[in-house]
């Protein structure tokens, strides 16, 4: 229940690295596979989540003193759904071709465990500025994951980035198929775990030599 003592910058970093939604917490996984078949889709999804996460944290933090704890869940849901509707309609108006592909997943940001969790765990107990920082960090962490996954998938699957062909020759079609999404996320998660294990080993080795 304690207020946070971290600086805003630390809060942002926390969201990007140590509590990265996709690779560390393994929640809100659905879009990580569904919309990452091209960099553009991944980018738009990431931006939408940054927006929703930050605004939800801001709003919840603003009204935190008026919320009766017993009905907090429906209230959070309403706040989230409001912002999601906003971004859903703006995308439908301004980014039509992308919206046709990922519209359903934009609407489903409502059911994101990560956004709800940050409102419940963080924003409702903290002041406005740290809440914004936390939301921004979480959103950027998600964005970052989307970009990495979609970068690899589009490059390997189509030999292109952002729709622009880069590599000629036969691309690995499997990477843009549904199955490729699972493989990409699995391999990347494995890679991050491997880095973690190596880092821990190095730290341990340093400590013993000292």
């Amino acid at each position: 229940m304690a207020h946070t003592h971290k600086s805003n910058w630390e809060l942002i970093k926390n969201g990007i690295f140590s509590e990265n939604t996709i690779f560390r917490m393994a929640i809100s996984l659905c879009p990580s596979i569904a919309v990452t078949n091209s960099l553009k889709n991944g980018f738009f999804m990431g931006v939408s989540v940054i927006f929703v996460q930050t605004m939800v944290n801001l709003t919840v933090s603003l009204i935190r003193n008026f919320i009766n704890p017993k009905i907090r869940i429906p209230i959070f849901m309403l706040v989230i759904a409001g912002y999601v509707s906003l971004i859903d309609m703006s995308m439908a108006a301004f980014a039509r071709p992308v919206y046709k592909q990922i519209g359903l997943y934009i609407q489903l940001i409502v059911a994101f465990a990560s956004i709800f969790a940050r409102a419940e765990v963080f924003a409702v107990k903290n002041k406005i500025v740290p809440s914004i920082a936390d939301g921004l960090g979480m959103g950027i962490g998600f964005f970052f994951a989307m970009i990495i996954i979609s970068f690899f998938r589009e490059l390997l699957g189509k030999g292109a980035l952002w729709g622009v062909p880069i590599v000629s020759g036969n691309p690995l079609l499997i990477m843009i198929l549904p199955a490729g999404g699972f493989f990409a996320v699995g391999l990347l998660m494995g890679f991050f775990n491997w880095v973690d294990i190596k880092m821990a080993e190095r730290k341990a080795a340093q400590e013993t030599t000292m």
Partner: protein
């Protein structure tokens, strides 16, 4: 009534457009509860029931309240409200009426509110303009498809406990790769029925 169409919808929703393997929804729960066969079965039953009922409720509200009032742009908010309210009341009713069933399935019920498939079904139903029976068929098919995915995954993961997996891949990463392999198998269903 065109039963052919309904049957096609069920098959299409459960096999060809399987929610987990081709639309990638409900992955959190899919990876979360597929460690054990018993929980997977419990989840599947609860899930299918909630899916069908919430699809029916949402259809009625959408068709008879939201369309006449021309407020269909509020559908995200309304559907999530309907589902949350229904799950909450099912939870309370089950606790009072049948405590033994509640202890078996109650925990899954709480998890379901934040599941994207449950919300996706009414959204797709309203987007495609399905009739009441078609919506129900789509709900049943989606539920069956999710159950199938969950049970296949659980049976593989139970065996996986005994396997010697490279350390960085233990746990979730290997589950993702297995899911990828199953998804590859499921792409074989595409083209089975053309709607």
């Amino acid at each position: 009534m065109d039963f052919n169409k309904l049957f096609q919808l069920i098959v299409a929703a459960s096999l060809i457009n399987n929610f987990v393997f081709t639309r990638f929804l409900g992955l959190c729960i899919f990876f979360g509860v597929s460690k054990k066969m018993e929980t997977a079965v419990g989840m599947s039953i609860t899930f299918t029931a909630v899916m069908v009922i919430s699809a029916a409720l949402s259809w009625v509200v959408f068709e008879y309240i939201m369309l006449p009032l021309d407020i269909s742009f509020l559908k995200i908010i309304v559907f999530i409200g309907i589902i949350a309210a229904f799950v909450q009341s099912a939870d309370t009713i089950m606790k009072k009426m049948s405590p033994s069933l509640y202890y078996k399935l109650g925990i899954y019920l709480a998890l379901i509110t934040t599941n994207c498939i449950i919300l996706a079904v009414p959204l797709i139903n309203s987007g495609e303009g399905y009739t009441f029976l078609e919506s129900m068929a789509f709900g049943v098919g989606s539920g069956l498809g999710f159950a199938l995915a969950l049970i296949i995954m659980a049976s593989i993961r139970e065996k996986l406990e005994l396997a010697d997996i490279p350390a960085p891949f233990r746990g979730l990463p290997i589950s993702f790769i297995i899911a990828g392999l199953i998804a590859l198998a499921f792409t074989g269903f595409s083209g089975l029925i053309t709607l």
